[in-house]
């Protein structure tokens, strides 16, 4: 289903926040074409890791390679232009713009225009504008938001906001997309739909996905591999089955004293 080439390699990454170690020697590989989940208890450093990959935080030590190119400590926009797009735990949409406009802005990354020259293009609608419009419509149909193109993004229910945010990330035509708790705040039906969309993105668009998620059912259903982060360290990395059986993981989630049955399932 996926190759053996590492699309993203995180090597020995350390990050401190004012003396508090958020990440300690994190090593993680995301292979081309896979859906990789990053799980772990609250405060384990999952979002910090995503923020470091996407350039929001600088790392203290270590390196991050994307397509064998060092990308650590580049500004977020540069990293996005290299092909890593993301969504946020607290949805970051362009709230006052329409659904369609949100996507059209997403296409900007691949269709840059010159700021000052834009005012001189005296045609009613430029060709690139038409192209972006058409592509955006197609995209919204693809994620099943086609009937809501003219709605203001803020007025969408949270489930659709999350899908819109993913669609906008896709519009930048990334190689890798980082999803930060995409199922937070969604009900069971919405979460299933989200899972379907994530799978389709990988299968039909060939985009690699790294997601941070608390919803174990979603994680175990869609991921090819799962890494577990606890107190800033990776304590397990493997297939969903392997991770579920890993003793360290069970301890991290449930605590040391628990009497653990063999084959205990984390997602129950």
């Amino acid at each position: 289903m996926y190759g053996v080439i590492n699309l993203l390699s995180i090597k020995g990454v350390f990050k401190n926040f004012g003396g508090l170690a958020a990440l300690q020697n994190v090593n993680l590989n995301v292979r081309q074409g896979e859906i990789k989940a990053l799980i772990g208890p609250n405060g384990a450093g999952k979002t910090t890791l995503l923020n470091i990959i996407s350039g929001i935080h600088r790392l203290d030590k270590g390196e991050i390679l994307f397509k064998d190119e060092k990308i650590n400590n580049l500004p977020p926009s540069k990293i996005a232009n290299k092909g890593i797009s993301r969504t946020f735990q607290h949805v970051e949409l362009f709230g006052n713009m329409t659904v369609l406009e949100n996507i059209m802005v997403g296409f900007y990354a691949r269709n840059k225009t010159s700021f000052f020259m834009d005012g001189f293009k005296f045609s009613f609608i430029t060709d690139s504008e038409k192209k972006i419009y058409k592509k955006s419509r197609e995209f919204l149909e693809y994620v099943k938001l086609g009937h809501k193109i003219n709605e203001i993004a803020l007025n969408l229910p949270i489930g659709e906001q999350r899908i819109l945010e993913i669609a906008r990330a896709l519009a930048t035509e990334p190689g890798l997309i980082l999803l930060d708790e995409p199922a937070a705040g969604l009900n069971i039906r919405e979460t299933r739909e989200l899972g379907e969309i994530i799978k389709r993105i990988r299968e039909e668009l060939g985009i690699t996905i790294l997601l941070v998620e608390h919803d174990m059912e979603l994680v175990m259903n869609i991921s090819d591999s799962v890494a577990v982060l606890n107190f800033g360290e990776i304590i397990a990395d493997g297939t969903p089955m392997e991770v579920q059986k890993n003793r360290d993981v069970i301890v991290a989630y449930l605590g040391e004293e628990e009497e653990v049955q063999p084959g205990y399932n984390v997602n129950t």
């Binding site: 350039g55 926009s77 996005a80 006052n96 990354a109 005012g119």
Partner: protein, 316 residues
């Protein structure tokens, strides 16, 4: 740009062009000229504030640079007026970069106070080192090109409003394009913009430059029209006036800036009787607009028009 935008543009400027045929009084035309000059500054602030979401209380600074640099160059160094204006625009652009680069991290109140501080520093500089100090200087040449000098009120009126039309056309085009959309996106979320590959700091610097260029151009045109300038025209009060124009007209719409500029420029002339009350009247207008007509004049009126039209269509 959409066809409707262009139609509104054509209708408005034909209307403005016809005005001098019906208005004989030079006094009324002069107010028209000042409205046009203020509109230029307001359009710039509208793009900066309404679209990109960056507050500025320092537009008077760029306006002052425009007026002083081009006047000084033409009076004391014999520059042709047009060259003086262009040089002033370059100086303003540089000043905008100097202000914008360190101000990038600032938002909201901090940005407001930083830009206010910038404007006041320019004001202090003009007072201290400008020719004539606080009393200013005169004998500034009228705008002239290829030996033809624009002197009469009527000529000046057309000249200024043609420039407003050009600037407006450029600005509508810009704001309705990809760039305009990105500016509005930045207004909503810096973080999301960065995440989809937009270089937010660079974009902010560019908008600051654009608004500074407009203000500078307006300042130069002002000085070459009135031919006498003193620092008092470039104080904090002017920055606030421009802000008021943008808000009263409607900050999310370029026509709002133009309408606001006309209203706020004409208003004190209508209120001549209560001349001591101008600040109070301004204050009330601004406060009431903010509290009850947050969108501003133009959006409210255009919504009304749309409703009426919608009603007519429904009847047929």
């Amino acid at each position: 740009m959409k066809k409707e935008d262009f139609m509104v543009f054509i209708v408005f400027f034909i209307f403005v062009g016809l005005l001098p045929l019906f208005i004989e009084s030079n006094y009324a035309l002069t107010i028209g000229i000042f409205s046009g000059i203020n509109a230029l500054v307001a359009i710039g602030l509208c793009i900066l504030m309404g679209y990109a979401g960056q507050v500025s209380l320092g537009q008077a600074g760029f306006y002052g640079i425009g007026a002083y640099v081009s006047s000084i160059l033409s009076v004391y160094y014999g520059f042709p007026v047009i060259l003086g204006i262009l040089s002033a625009m370059i100086v303003s652009a540089i000043a905008a970069v100097v202000l914008a680069v360190p101000a990038l991290r600032l938002k909201g109140h901090y940005l407001a106070v930083a830009t206010l501080g910038f404007g006041e520093i320019i004001y202090v500089i003009l007072n201290e080192w400008g020719p004539g100090g606080p009393s200013g200087f005169g004998d500034i040449p009228h705008f002239n090109i290829a030996g033809y000098s624009i002197q009469t009120t009527k000529e000046s009126f057309y000249f200024i409003w043609i420039i407003v039309a050009i600037v407006m056309l450029y600005s509508i085009n810009l704001t309705k394009s990809n760039t305009g959309r990105i500016l509005r996106a930045m207004h909503d979320s810096d973080t999301a913009c960065e995440a989809i590959g937009i270089n937010v700091p660079l974009l902010k610097i560019k908008v600051f430059i654009l608004s500074a260029l407009y203000a500078s151009l307006a300042g130069s045109l002002y000085s070459h029209y009135v031919t006498f300038i003193s620092p008092s025209s470039f104080s904090l009060f002017y920055s606030i006036l421009i802000l008021m124009m943008v808000i009263v007209g409607g900050s999310k719409n370029l026509w709002g800036a133009v309408a606001g500029a006309i209203v706020i420029t004409v208003l004190p002339e209508l209120l001549r009787k209560f001349q001591e009350l101008d600040i109070l009247v301004y204050g009330f207008i601004l406060t009431l607009t903010l509290m009850f007509f947050r969108k501003g004049l133009v959006p409210i009126i255009s919504e009304k028009i749309k409703n009426v039209r919608g009603y007519k269509f429904a009847k047929h």
